[in-house]
Symmetry: C2
Subunit: 331 residues, 2 copies
C-alpha cells in the first residue's frame, strides 16, 4: 500500500436518480427492455416523466454510487463529474460531499441541465433505466487534475462515459496521468450496448495495458469478447487485462487475476427490493479490498456484501454503514 | 353524499422533503427539538443542508400528503399550493399530478425558490423538520377558485399556512366559498406553535362555525384550549366545532362528534421506520371515511390504517395502494 491521499478516485456521470414503481405493462407499452439502460434526450425525458408515477429523487450515477460505497467502507474516495448550476446539481453535490467524498468539479452554467435517470422499478425488483445525460456528458479534460490522479491509489472509470466525446477525452487524460504515476486503473464496462459501440477501441486500450482491473457483468463481458459463454469471454479478456471481475447476479461473481480463478457466492438477503446499484456496490467492495491489498478472494466477498445491502432498499447507495457488514474482512 | 367533482380539496404548503438520517447528537448540537417543525430562512436552509447527511427527495407538505392518501384510497382529490418555476417545483407538480390529483395552481417566477423541508430522522424513527417555505408562503387569494371549492365535498386546510399573511387570506377566501356552497371545512392545527401564535383568531373562526372538522394531536389541542389534558381540551373545543379529531400517537385516536365520543386503537405495525406523515395520513383516512359517509368510528379506523402504512417506510406518502389495507371499510 502506498501513502496516497485517496484510495479510489472515480470519473463518472453525475446523475440524480428519479425512482418510481412501474408495472410490466408500463414497460411493454413504452417498448422498454427490462433491466437495460437507454439514453434519452430532454424531450423524451420530459414526456416519460409525465407518464410515470411519483418519484423519489436520490443521487446516483454508477461511479458515484461506487465511491459512496467505498466511503461507507471507511476508505478515502474522490469523484470527478459534471453538474449544471441548478437544483439537481446542488442536490448531487451535497449528497456526495456529505459522504466525505472529495468532489471539486465546478458546476457549469453552459452545459444544459444536470443529468437525471428515470428508474422504473418493476414488482420483481428489476430496474429499467432511462438516462438524460445533460450536463454529465459535457465533462471535459479540464476537469481532470493529473496531480489528483497521481495522488490516488486506484483510478476508477465508468464505461457509460466512454460514449460521449468530451468525457472520453477526459478519461484518456486521466489514464495517462495514472500510467505516469503508478496509479492502478479500474474500468467498468457499464452496459453491453456501450461495449458494442466501442469494442475496437476498448480492446486497444486493454492491449496497451492501460487497464489493470476490469469490471463487467455476464452480458457485458460476452459482448466484449463476442463469446456466448461468460467464462470463455472472461478468459479471452484476461489475456490482456491482469484482473477481470465478472458479476453474475444471484450466482455471485468470479475473478480471473494473474492466471488464477476466484469465486464468491452472492450474500444471502432477506428481501429483494430494488436491484439498482448492485453492480456499482459490488465494484465498491472489490475496490476497497484491492486498495487494502486483501487479494481477489476477499475482495470478491467484500463486493458481494456491499451489493447485498444496496438491493434490499430503494436507491443505489448504501443506507447502512457498510463497515458493520464487512466484519473482520477489512481488518 | 353529494355529486361533486372532488371529494377533498386541500390547500397547503407545496414542499419537497429532503430526508436524511441523523443522530441525537446532531439534533443536540443544532439545538433542535426532536419531533418539532421549525421555519428557517434560505440562509439557514443552506447552512443546515451543508451540515446534514445525504438526502432522499420526496414530495411532502402536510396537506399534500393528506390528498395523496385520499387519492390512494380511491377518492377524488384536488390541491392548491404555490410552487416556484424551478426543478423542485417540477418534481412536486409531477408527483402530485401523477397520483391523479387535480393540481392547477400556476408556478410563479416571482416568488423565490420552491419550498423544501429538511427532515432529520433519528434512530428512534422520530422526524424533526426544518422548513424553508420559500414560494409556498406566497400562495395568494388569486390561487383560490370559488367554483372549485364549491365543487368539493370537503375543503381541507393546513394550519401551517395560517402563519403567513397571503395564504391566510387565500384560506379565508376558500372558507367563505365553502360556506356559501355547503362544502364542509376541515382544518388541521399542524403545530402547537402555530396554535400559540394564532389562538385568538382560530377560536373566533370556530365560534363563527366556519370549521366543521378539526384535526389536532394532543400537544396542539392542549395548546389551543390551554388545558393540560387532551380530553378536557377536546371537550372545550367541541363546544364550538362539530367534530374534533385528536391523534395520540401509538395510543390511537379519538373523536368528539356531535355530542358523542369515539375512539380507535393504533394499527399494529411490523417495524417503525419514519413517523413523517403519520398525522397527515391519519387525516386522509378520516376524510375519506367522512366523504363516504361512514361515520366517525369507521373514519377513525381508516385513519389508523392509513397512518400505519406510512410510518413503516421513509417518506410521508403511501407507497402501497391503501385500498388493499382498507378492506371492506370503504365498501
Amino acid at each position: 500500500m502506498t501513502d496516497r491521499c485517496l484510495d479510489v478516485l472515480a470519473i463518472g456521470n453525475a446523475i440524480v436518480d428519479v425512482i418510481a414503481d412501474a408495472g410490466d405493462d408500463f414497460l411493454a407499452r413504452e417498448g422498454m427492455h427490462k433491466g437495460a439502460m437507454r439514453l434519452i434526450d430532454e424531450a423524451e425525458a420530459t414526456r416519460l416523466y409525465e407518464a410515470m408515477g411519483p418519484g423519489r429523487e436520490l443521487s446516483g450515477g454508477s461511479a458515484g454510487n461506487t465511491v459512496a460505497g467505498v466511503a461507507s467502507l471507511g476508505l478515502r474516495a474522490g469523484f470527478i463529474g459534471q453538474l449544471a448550476d441548478d437544483q439537481l446539481g446542488e442536490i448531487y453535490a451535497h449528497d456526495i460531499r456529505s459522504l466525505g467524498i472529495a468532489f471539486t468539479t465546478p458546476m457549469r452554467s453552459d452545459v444544459g441541465a444536470s443529468a437525471r435517470c428515470l428508474v422504473l422499478v418493476t414488482p420483481d425488483a428489476q430496474r429499467t433505466m432511462n438516462t438524460f445525460l445533460g450536463a454529465a456528458q459535457r465533462l471535459g479534460p479540464d476537469a481532470v487534475d493529473p496531480a489528483e490522479v497521481a495522488d490516488a491509489q486506484i483510478l476508477y472509470l465508468e464505461g457509460y462515459l466512454w460514449d460521449p466525446d468530451e468525457p472520453r477525452r477526459a478519461m484518456i487524460k486521466a489514464i495517462e496521468a495514472a500510467h505516469a504515476a503508478g496509479t492502478k486503473v479500474a474500468f467498468t464496462l457499464s452496459d453491453s450496448f456501450v461495449v458494442d459501440r466501442h469494442r475496437t477501441d476498448l480492446w486497444q486500450l486493454f492491449r496497451e495495458r492501460r487497464v489493470d482491473i476490469l469490471f463487467a457483468n455476464e452480458a457485458e463481458i460476452m459482448s466484449l469478447a463476442e463469446h456466448d459463454s461468460a467464462e470463455d469471454a472472461a478468459l479471452a479478456v484476461a489475456a490482456e487485462v491482469p484482473t477481470v471481475v465478472v458479476t453474475c447476479g444471484e450466482q455471485g461473481a468470479f475473478a480471473l487475476s494473474n492466471g488464477h480463478r476466484y469465486a464468491a457466492a452472492a450474500e444471502p438477503i432477506r428481501a429483494l427490493v430494488d436491484t439498482t446499484g448492485a453492480g456499482d456496490l459490488f465494484a465498491a467492495g472489490y475496490l476497497a479490498g484491492e486498495a487494502r491489498g486483501l487479494g481477489p478472494e476477499r475482495s470478491l466477498r467484500l463486493g458481494a456484501i456491499a451489493a447485498a445491502e444496496v438491493i434490499q432498499h430503494y436507491g443505489a447507495r448504501p443506507e447502512a454503514d457498510l463497515r458493520t457488514f464487512a466484519g473482520d474482512l477489512l481488518g
